[in-house]
Symmetry: C2
């Protein structure tokens, strides 16, 4: 399953890549960037730099069958790259590893000024045109926590352990890390009021999720069987499903959340490929005693033994005060993608089981990934129990929900003994007041 | 508000347009079609024919400022056309009226073989790339009927008269009239069973809705005020929100419908423009005594007096038996868009009130448009009370929900005394068994 591109001993001639928390030479994620305000183009993150793929093509670094895959990866939207199968992506990965690892020839290294940009000088974009965005609810501890606030007697709906619950989200408002989070206005009706009023949300929240980039799609009417589903997940990112809890509470019956979510979804802009994450596949967590087995169309041996991912997640908060005082960010939670109740293959098999067609560049959100204990809960709604128990920061401030000026930062790292850990780059956003 | 292009006395030199139920010269809807298996291109429906816009451009029928709008309307996806404001669309409409009405010069008429295709020889396509699709729930009689089945005591959720309820639907599976309706498989759990099973839906249904094509969009974070909202609705179509009621009943809590809807949505492929429908704007139906007034951000004088549309709707059913015997279609219901509780401007203002960005080519569904009485109910779920009271067809057959081989046909007509009525073309689909 793994090959030389996963070898922890291998290094890059790009010095900043060696020991880089996110982008060592074993990662090689794809993205779309603009250097110095120039036109968007495809690139690969390597340490603190970005490999300019159009430039690499121009100097002839890609030949043979890899050339077309590299050309797709060089485009300003990566949908065509995502439409290649794992073989195509893998061939490109192998060649990129040759170019960027210590096996690169001196003549390749000499091209550095032409090939590499300082990431700090570049603007990152959403890397593909997202046809449809579906947000799942596969974090069972989150579902339990939220359900307990709304329905203390039956926190989990009866379908939860059978159906990978999800809803369609908004594609147009998915934005890259760093996009300001305008506090949305909307209708709110607290229990203390008899009629709703319109105004800025008073309970703005984040949700930490993993995003999955769909690779090759399926035709309408042709479900993807679970045994084939892994091949349709091309890569992953971090995703912040910003949520206005007061708008949500008032609007969500009977058809689910809309305006409480669709004002903004922030993603980390690099597509960390399924190939890079291959060493971090782990068995699915056994279901607790008494839980039903997945129905037939959601079960296959490979998915049970390799369907989960070992990715550690961290949510950080800074405020105007903590930044002014130079304080460390407040750690809101530490969790892991292993806590998801459903695998990505199960999500894909479920989503297409009725014949619904996926397209390359579609995006899934995993749902909020909470760990069992409060130190791993993935939203303020859970941590503060709906705002009832504020958290206390080292700055002396308290928070029930997000205040203007607060910045939420997600970080993630795929970890396994004997392998270089891989990161995703940051997924951050700062709350600004309603315009 | 109306001009010579709405004059009922005006005729077309395309003979089939005069008295045509859908496409007289006063309509001039835009679409994308392939003549005889050739490449898709933009066109205009006129009687039983389609005007080939690339051909019309080639022979120089458009000059000056209209030329660029016509070029956008000639493309194989009409997103760029939809991005023009009403002025641009109106200028093109005026020129098309000159070309296709009785005021056309002899030299224009002489071009007929080059300009016109028989619609019967053409394939119609979805006319734009749909960025996001949002399905509203603005048919209050439908919401009441459905709510009564699920929650007899409180059929309407408390937010209904304040919030134009909606959910995000699936863009990828929106298909043009005529696309087969594969009976979807999925999880069903009737009350009589203790655990769900996976298999073909046993309660496949239709829902009649009006679709709204979004024209110019808005930037993220910049709401569209209701007074400006009408200008963002470029055109309309018919929309069948096919629904698998058994899948829906099991999956929809807590985040709304997903697989019960996203296997297929059928639309009539012509964009009937806001300009063509101008004579059919009518005052919004007064809210019943005791209903709250719309909140400030959903109210403006113009929308109250001109926000609704006078469009009559008809739902027809044919079966294998009725077709084999040459019987007339069974009329399932007759309704009107005047029964919608919320206007399209209110939907647009609501959708963007939190800063959510719309893009040209986004599509809204109105929600199922049921009339107050059973003869106007817009789905079998309502007509058969959840399948309890089957309907009886003249063929001797009964129906609780749709059977394989059943065809559902929607027709619509904008009607006003003193004006030519305009239609939408058909929106039809035949149920076929699970592949």
């Amino acid at each position: 399953m793994t090959n030389h591109t996963h070898d922890v001993r291998r290094r890059s001639w790009v010095a900043s890549a060696n020991g880089h928390p996110d982008f060592p030479v074993q990662n090689l994620p794809f993205g779309v960037f603009s250097p110095h305000g120039e036109m968007p183009r495809g690139g690969v993150a390597i340490g603190d730099s970005i490999l300019d793929l159009p430039a690499a093509l121009e100097v002839g670094l890609f030949g043979g069958v890899v050339q077309d895959v590299a050309a797709a990866a060089a485009e300003p939207q990566l949908n065509r790259l995502l439409n290649f199968d794992a073989g195509g992506r893998e061939a490109l990965r192998d060649r990129l590893f040759e170019i960027l690892s210590d096996e690169a020839t001196a003549s390749v290294r000499a091209l550095e000024p032409r090939l590499l940009h300082r990431a700090a000088d570049c603007t990152l974009h959403v890397p593909a045109q997202i046809g449809d965005y579906t947000d799942f609810y596969a974090g069972i501890h989150h579902a339990n926590n939220v359900g307990r606030l709304l329905r203390p007697d039956t926190p989990l709906s009866p379908n939860y352990k059978y159906v990978p619950i999800a809803y369609h989200g908004r594609a147009s408002s998915i934005q890259p890390s760093g996009t300001p989070v305008h506090r949305p206005e909307g209708q709110r009706k607290p229990g203390s009021e008899t009629v709703p009023s319109f105004g800025p949300s008073r309970s703005l929240d984040y949700e930490i999720e993993l995003g999955i980039w769909i690779g090759p799609g399926n035709k309408l009417g042709e479900p993807i069987p679970i045994a084939a589903a892994h091949a349709h997940a091309a890569g992953f990112c971090l995703l912040n499903d910003w949520s206005a809890r007061d708008l949500q509470g008032w609007e969500y019956q009977p058809l689910g959340p809309l305006l409480s979510k669709n004002f903004l979804t922030t993603i980390s802009p690099w597509i960390v490929t399924a190939e890079a994450l291959r060493p971090f596949r782990v068995p699915q967590k056994p279901r607790p005693e008494g839980d039903p087995a997945p129905l037939h169309h959601l079960w296959c041996e490979f998915d049970q033994t390799h369907g989960a991912l070992a990715i550690e997640l961290e949510v950080l908060l800074t405020t105007r005060v903590t930044r002014a005082r130079g304080m460390d960010p407040h750690v809101l939670s530490v969790s892991s993608t292993r806590h998801l109740y459903w695998t990505f293959a199960q999500m894909i098999a479920h989503h297409t089981s009725n014949g619904c067609n996926l397209r390359p560049g579609d995006l899934f959100g995993s749902g909020t990934i909470s760990a069992p204990g409060i130190e791993g809960w993935g939203s303020l709604l859970e941590i503060t129990e709906g705002g009832r128990n504020p958290i206390h920061l080292a700055s002396g401030e308290t928070r029930r929900f997000l205040e203007d000026g607060d910045e939420i930062i997600f970080r993630a790292r795929a970890v396994r003994d004997g392998f270089a850990s891989l990161g995703f780059g940051e997924c951050r956003g700062t709350v600004v007041s309603t315009p």
